[in-house]
């Protein structure tokens, strides 16, 4: 893909000629095992950011021996810079429902849930209305499966799957110890397949037309395409569905404003790619993975402010239970402030980098572990902006 432009794709939002309920009905002509093989064969990985192979997740959940199993759509999209799931649920909710139903059929779950972040409550009336129709449709085609909505109430950490279960169970959204993993003990302690909104739509597509079309896109490690949420200093802010495998340079050539000095890939918890690394950095699991957030910064922006915003975000949104994350975030934030004010020597940034590395290996969940990504990449590449 060297020097070519990112390839636009139209899968997620395509509705023409597609009847989601019919797709579920057709999928049921295959055995669950066949569907799992298709999913594995497609190479589809979770589109929420963690990138766990979807087929395996479904397989593990199916293999669990339990009368009660659940399938959950993680619509707690809270990563700063990410808004694709809202767009998907706004524009093609039936495809998400159908993806959930196909997953439910595959793993043997009778109940599905969509956990929607509270910030998107305005979508609820329409979603509930469409769900009624869809659930009735499931009855009609003879699938014992129904979907309900659940809402968050303003807590970024609930996007972490075990925190999401806790929240659904009426508790504080604090991530659990792992193992056990959700496929073994998820919501209410039962085997649970939890998938991102976008993942379910790709799964729907694979169930509809097979793995081939998906498989032929992207790279060996990053199959298929992805919906990107593009914001910051760009004339083309918004949603774009692109084939995976491009470099940051290719992306910037298409979406930059001609003065891009850095791209934050993967939201606040992702990494910051400076201009000098645009060419060598591939957007995908072989390079820099992303849940789809691409935030562009031009030379007018202070990377200190960017990092400060991120750290403030994490300091507030940490669940607070584990030491590295609760205290570490505060120390990183107060630390760069102290360096900026000259109260701490610039060498203190090295101490903070060490701290960030400890957070990466010792925090209890992905939130605390990933704070190191923006911190180290921004401090390493924009040290002057942090200090002066």
């Amino acid at each position: 893909m060297e020097n070519t432009r990112p390839k636009r794709v139209d899968i997620i939002f395509l509705m023409e000629g597609i009847d989601p309920i019919k797709v579920v009905e057709n999928a049921m002509k295959k055995s669950p095992d066949e569907i799992i093989l298709d999913m594995i064969d497609s190479g589809l990985k979770g589109r929420g950011g963690a990138g766990f192979p979807t087929g395996l997740k479904w397989k593990f959940t199916r293999n669990e021996d339990s009368y009660d199993k659940y399938v959950i759509c993680n619509a707690d999209e809270g990563e700063p810079g990410t808004f694709k799931d809202r767009e998907i649920l706004d524009r093609v909710p039936e495809k998400v429902f159908a993806g959930l139903a196909i997953c439910g059929y595959t793993i043997g779950a009778r109940e599905g849930f969509i956990y929607l972040r509270g910030e998107y409550n305005f979508l609820l009336p329409v979603l509930n209305q469409k769900l009624d129709v869809f659930n009735a449709g499931m009855k009609k085609i003879g699938l014992d499966f129904a979907i309900q909505m659940r809402s968050g109430s303003g807590a970024y950490i609930c996007g972490e799957e075990s925190a999401l279960f806790e929240s659904m169970e009426g508790k504080r959204g604090e991530p659990r110890n792992k193992p056990p993993y959700p496929t073994v003990a998820g919501y209410l302690g039962k085997p649970t397949a939890i998938n991102n909104v976008e993942t379910l739509v790709y799964a729907f597509m694979i169930a509809r037309i097979g793995a081939e079309k998906f498989k032929e896109m992207g790279t060996k490690d990053s199959r298929g395409s992805k919906v990107f949420s593009i914001s910051g200093d760009t004339p083309k802010a918004g949603i774009s569905e692109l084939e995976l495998g491009m470099s940051v340079q290719q992306f910037v050539d298409e979406f930059g404003d001609g003065d891009t000095k850095a791209v934050q890939v993967g939201g606040a918890s992702g990494g910051c790619v400076p201009r000098k690394m645009f060419k060598e950095t591939i957007i995908g699991y072989e390079g820099i993975p992303t849940g789809g957030s691409m935030m562009l910064f031009n030379s007018s922006r202070s990377m200190y402010n960017v990092l400060h915003d991120y750290l403030e975000f994490f300091t507030e949104e940490s669940c607070g239970q584990c030491t590295p994350c609760r205290v570490g975030c505060q120390q990183l934030l107060k630390g760069i402030e102290a360096v900026k004010r000259g109260e701490k020597n610039p060498a203190y940034l090295d101490d903070l980098k060490k701290l960030a590395k400890t957070m990466k290996v010792a925090a209890k969940c992905g939130l605390g572990q990933s704070v190191a990504n923006p911190f180290i990449s921004i401090v390493s590449n924009f040290k002057e902006e942090i200090i002066y």
């Binding site: 999209e77 809270g78 990563e79 700063p80 810079g81 990410t82 808004f83 809202r86 972040r117 509270g118 910030e119 998107y120 409550n121 305005f122 609820l124 659940r150 809402s151 968050g152 109430s153 303003g154 807590a155 970024y156 929240s167 659904m168 169970e169 009426g170 508790k171 504080r172 959204g173 209410l188 949420s229 593009i230 914001s231 910051g232 200093d233 802010a237 918004g238 949603i239 606040a268 957030s293 935030m295 922006r301 402010n305 960017v306 915003d309 991120y310 975000f313 507030e316 949104e317 669940c319």
Partner: protein
């Protein structure tokens, strides 16, 4: 209080009386009165057979489940990076001036509470704010004040 009892009755009718009904109940109370007072929390604790401290501890975890009094309309202006870059400070200042409150405060007539919020998911259309459940993207100061006026005019 009577309202809260009714809400609890309605919501437990759907979700049962187990702990998993807690979030839907708290959300339903907040939807009607924008915050949870001590009597609400106790009523919920009673209904679900939880300790009051547990209910408070859970509610206080969630930004939207306020346990301090809020105005009739809760404004949440996104303060995260994209909206920061797009000028959320100007929006906040405009609202502060109009309502004569600082961020975190409630107007004297109890009609508005102004809060800042972490990413609301409209990074391509910042600055953005929520008023209650309603979202207002692509703001500028004038537009924000215009919107407030509409709420101001309601009863």
């Amino acid at each position: 209080m009577a309202d809260v009892q009714q809400i609890i009755k309605d919501v437990t009718g759907i979700y049962g009386k187990e702990r998993k009904a807690l979030m839907p109940i708290l959300q339903a109370v907040v939807k009607t009165k924008n915050y949870l007072d001590d009597q609400d929390l106790i009523a919920v604790a009673k209904a679900l057979d939880l300790s009051a401290a547990e209910v408070f501890g859970t509610a206080s975890f969630y930004t939207f489940l306020d346990t301090v009094p809020r105005g009739k309309n809760v404004i949440r202006v996104c303060k995260t990076i994209s909206c920061h870059m797009a000028g959320k400070d100007a929006i906040i200042h405009a609202i502060e001036d109009t309502l004569k409150v600082k961020t975190g405060e409630t107007s004297v007539d109890k009609k508005f509470t102004l809060l800042s919020a972490n990413c609301l998911g409209w990074c391509h259309k910042g600055p953005v704010m929520l008023i209650n459940d309603q979202v207002y993207p692509e703001l500028n100061a004038e537009k924000a004040i215009e919107i407030l006026q509409k709420y101001q005019e309601e009863d």
